[in-house]
Amino acid sequence: MIWLTWRQFRAQALVAALAVAAVAAFLIYLGVRMRSDYAGVLGCTPSECAAARISFGNTYSRQLTLAGVLVLATPALIGVFWGAPLLTRELEERTDRLVWNQSITRVRWLAVKLAVLGLAAVVVSGALSLLLTWNASRYDQFLGERFVALNFASRNVVPLGHAAFAFTLGTVTGLLVRRTLPAMALTLALFAVVQLGEPALVRAHLMTPVTTSVAFDEDAMSRSKGFGVSPSGGAKILGYTMPGAWSLSEEAAVVNADGSPLTQEQLATCRSGNPEEHIRCLTGLGLHFDYTYHPPSRYWTFQWIELSAYLAASLLLAGSGLWWLRRRTPSR
């Protein structure tokens, strides 16, 4: 049965291998270039670091986003092109009547197909993820955006879970829908809903976030996207990110040590024609702001939780697919 699975899968495997090779060539080339650039910005001082980060980010963000999207799309493609047609093609060509009348039960037939092709899906996705993780490691380290939805789902172990899940989802959809094109479309839609919905609605709640008070100083400013004051008093820091952490607060009120808002008088004292002077004065006031986030140390916990959840969902789907096929077998 393993032989037959491989024989029927050979052409698709070749296509996948070529695609992986092409993406690998691109990623290795990009990774080598990025490493040499990174060496140049390593010794930045805090005041220069913001600029260096922006420039490094501008140079590579587009290519890395593209690579991330490719890795992210791989499980969807696997689900649509490997999973969905797995059974429907047999039904449409009526070869189920050939293969299910050999001396092998259809449950075993499906179990072997799921195991072998599921493993292939995980290997393909794993190879791409490994390449991108290596490729982007300097970038992620420097810019600290590992938790961004696209980056999180396209690096390390999470793509393996996505691939296993997409493949079993496609197969089981095909089992229920029984026609190739509708099964492919439905697989894509379902997987897209999961892949977009899960990070947006579920991921951040997998663990309780931490809220801490951060001193408003030059370092904090260099890690934020901006700072704004309102004429009526009060000030906000925008997009502050602790290195490597997952920020859950996009903006926070900058307040005095006792928690009272910044007064107009305080702002007036520091007003200056020179923006740098202005900020330096403000940072001397002993201000702070609240910051809600998942600490960097949780990155791997999140990765493993998500991998386990997707693998568990894959097993559950595979189990129900086998159960369904067994139930539909006339006499078991």
Partner: protein
């Protein structure tokens, strides 16, 4: 001896369509059994249930003494060639033999290789590039080399031209004798059945109309013109069933006999 296939009040409904109604029939082992009937008579449904790809709605069916399709051991005992002989178009003849060898514990590699050579099939040829006759022969080879105890063939010759059909049936007769396997084969062509089968089941309108050994059936059916003799039953037009031949009766062929039962079931005039 266990029957090759035995059913009791077997019924199959697809939604509101009834394909087979209260079918009770026993097919002896060691024979070539012809299952005949018009299109839509329920032949494929009955054969599908025989090899376990179709589940009955009601009733009981046993194949070689066991429920059909129950586990790998039962699957190994029944060989099936489905209607339109499905094959993997992208796989070569050799690949198909390898598939058979890998998936069947009782696979007879020598038999398969010998048949392929005798039929002149190129092992490297893709199944999609074979002619209809070659496809049917390849499918039959797969089923035969499985060394099943029962071969179920659903309309194996329906798509073949007369020459290929004759060759296929001739070949079938040859290796059935050689392997001693039971065969159930369906056809809507009575001539084919007459040529190869020694037992016949006539199915029409989802019901069994007639079942029995060909020789026995031919001795109790006659063509009688005029008055219906005492103790005889008129089947359709001049075809009557009577234990002894009434005076003036003429013998009947299997083709006309089958047609008479099918016509009666259809309620049509001759």
């Amino acid at each position: 001896m266990t029957a090759a296939m035995e059913t009791e009040d077997l019924t199959k409904r697809y939604g509101r369509t009834t394909a087979l109604t209260d079918c009770t029939v026993a097919v002896p082992a060691g024979r070539i059994v012809g299952l005949v009937g018009p299109n839509g008579a329920g032949k494929s449904t009955l054969l599908g249930m025989t090899c376990g790809i179709v589940a009955p709605t009601a009733g009981r069916i046993e194949v070689l003494g066991h429920p059909p399709g129950a586990g790998a051991a039962q699957l190994a005992r029944v060989g099936f060639v489905a209607q339109d002989v499905p094959l993997y178009r992208g796989l070569s003849v050799a690949d198909h033999l390898r598939l058979g060898a890998r998936l069947n514990p009782r696979w007879d590699a020598a038999l398969a290789a010998d048949r392929i050579e005798r039929l002149g099939l190129d092992p490297a040829r893709k199944a999609g590039a074979l002619s209809g006759g070659q496809r049917a022969q390849l499918a039959l080879t797969l089923a035969a080399a499985k060394r099943a105890d029962l071969l179920v063939l659903d309309e194996p010759v329906a798509s073949l031209d007369p020459l290929a059909r004759r060759a296929f049936l001739h070949d079938l007769l040859g290796f059935v004798a050689e392997l001693g396997v039971s065969v159930i084969l369906s056809s809507h062509l009575l001539g084919d059945v007459e040529r190869v089968c020694d037992h016949v089941v006539v199915l029409a309108g989802g019901r069994v109309q007639l079942a029995g050994d060909v020789a026995g059936l031919l001795t109790v059916h006659h063509r009688v013109t005029g008055e219906l003799p005492a103790g005889a039953e008129r089947i359709h037009a001049d075809v009557v069933r009577a234990a002894g031949a009434p005076p003036g009766a003429r013998p009947i062929g299997l083709e006309d006999l089958g047609l008479a039962y099918m016509s009666r079931a259809a309620g049509g005039a001759s």
